[in-house]
């Protein structure tokens, strides 16, 4: 029989808790008991913050966590296997933004093309851009979720202003590329697009190369993508190989 002692410590610095009990509660739970009696049947368990356990015993804590996580809205239970989540934040790709190209028209207006990896994309702008390149429409909520949960979203905006008015000028989305990843080994590049009126200038190349650079700098070595037949050459020139060593991508076809 395995006994596990969970120490539930409430701290006053837990900002997201909706209620907090000022006492320290010690809980003994036997993992082999399928007990229906929970020690706190009526209280809001939003305050709970489990003390960091040594890594092996984390597994046993999950039994109660999975039950308790059903109670309380702002649940701050953390059973952490990784060394620390603070290191995790520091390793996320830092958002960058810089002016890629700046050209001045004969009439004095300046156009800047700005690269950004902050992922700050208006979903409606993106849908307009997808329409321009001729892609089928996708549900906006799914698009927004996909952008939010992609590892990197790289964008190109164009900003036009008359000379002397650096601050003003409308930003227009003209290109995007995003990559999903497990942050450690694999990454897949999806949704690469550049506004047709800006194509042919090497902007797509910049987007992809920046993505690859960021991914490799994070030691993510498996970079893959699924290319339309028309753009296979484009990616080949960037260093991608089709079906390397027989590796193929297969897609799921629901049979209904």
């Amino acid at each position: 029989m395995q006994m596990q002692t969970l120490h539930l410590v409430s701290t006053s610095t837990v900002a997201s808790s909706s209620s907090s009990l000022p006492t320290i509660v010690s809980l003994d739970c036997c993992r082999c008991q399928a007990s229906n009696q929970l020690p706190f049947p009526n209280t809001n368990l939003g305050f709970l913050k489990v003390k960091r356990q040594p890594k092996v015993s984390n597994l046993k804590a999950s039994f109660w966590d999975s039950i308790r996580s059903g109670f309380g809205k702002n649940n701050t239970i953390q059973v952490i296997d990784t060394p620390s989540s603070e290191e995790e934040e520091a390793e996320e790709p830092l958002p960058e933004e810089f002016v890629l190209v700046e050209k001045t028209q004969p009439d004095g207006t300046v156009e800047q093309i700005i690269f950004s990896s902050g992922g700050d994309v208006d979903v409606y702008d993106l849908q307009d851009l997808c329409d321009k390149v001729g892609w089928p429409r996708r549900p906006l909520s799914k698009l927004a979720a996909a952008l939010k949960n992609s590892y990197i979203v790289a964008t190109l905006h164009s900003r036009k202003f008359s000379s002397g008015e650096e601050g003003n000028g409308e930003k227009k989305l003209i290109g995007m590329a995003r990559a999903t990843s497990d942050h450690a080994f694999n990454a897949t590049i999806w949704d690469v697009l550049v506004d047709p009126s800006y194509q042919g200038q090497g902007l797509g190349k910049v987007l992809i190369e920046k993505l690859i650079r960021t991914l490799l700098q994070r030691d993510i070595g498996n970079i893959s993508l699924f290319a339309d037949s028309k753009v296979v050459e484009f990616y080949r020139n960037l260093g991608f190989e089709p079906d390397p060593e027989g590796i193929k991508g297969m897609f799921w076809y629901p049979m209904y």
Binding site: A146, N186, G221
Partner: protein
């Protein structure tokens, strides 16, 4: 031949295949009692790393092989990070007595053998606490549109019994429940029949799978940064501003 098959994780080069005859018991026997968990907390990263080694599976697409054809053990910190950021993980446990290769001292038996022998073993439910990790699979997603399945594996002694298919089907079920239908799986030539049997198709909108493989050997440029990924030294593109204006 059988030893060679075991060392290579069950996959022999094609010229040897005609010499190994599948035994009758290897053709679709029923799987042992299993517990499939999709809770990431049920996974012990060290056991998982050992599972990767037993299955000779590397997280790098182009792994470095040693003289026996085995891959290097997976980096445990990177594995932890990958698990943390995988949208779905599925791990399969079974009781140690059902794992054919385990030596007796490894099995922590319950000691309960009554009348009828080991019927207790079949009746007591498997849990991650009392089970051996024998299979695994995970999927990475953007939670909205797409997902990709990676690292599906089952220990060699329990293959060809439907466990791998169960793993994939469980992952698929979770993804579909969360409204994600664009599900990809990168697989080698040997894995294609397996994924085909799980409902994956080869031809998809006629797109080509491509991977970044530009390395220092294929593209000679001086003053370039390279990154090691398995046995490939991938070239990191430099920041350059030669855009045609």
């Amino acid at each position: 031949m059988a030893v060679a098959a075991a060392v290579n994780g069950g996959y022999l080069p094609s010229k040897f295949r005609r010499f190994t005859q599948p035994t009758v018991s290897q053709i679709r026997p029923t799987p042992p009692p299993l517990f499939i968990s999709t809770n990431p907390n049920d996974i012990n990263p060290i056991h998982l790393r050992d599972l990767y080694s037993v299955c000779n599976h590397s997280c790098h697409r182009f792994p470095k092989l040693n003289s026996e054809g085995r891959v290097e053990p997976v980096d445990i910190d990177k594995l932890r990070k990958a698990l943390l950021h995988s949208y779905v993980v599925a791990s399969v446990f079974t009781r140690p007595e059902f794992v054919p290769d385990l030596t007796p001292e490894n099995i922590s038996g319950s000691g309960l053998t009554g009348i009828g022998g080991d019927w207790i073993g079949k009746v007591v439910p498997v849990t991650p606490g009392n089970g051996e990790l024998v299979g695994f699979g995970r999927a990475v997603s953007d939670s909205g549109l797409t997902a990709a399945i990676y690292d599906v594996m089952v220990i060699p002694s329990l293959r060809r019994r439907g466990i791998g298919r169960k793993i994939v089907q469980r992952i698929l079920r979770i993804l579909v429940n969360r409204d994600i239908y664009d599900i990809a799986a990168l697989c080698s030539d040997q894995q294609k029949p397996f994924f085909g049997a799980c409902g994956f198709g080869d031809d998809v909108l006629v797109s080509t799978t491509m991977m970044y493989t530009r390395s220092a050997s294929t593209h000679s440029v001086d003053e370039q940064m390279v990154k090691c990924a398995g046995r490939k030294l991938l070239l990191v593109p430099s920041l350059r501003g030669n855009l045609k204006i």
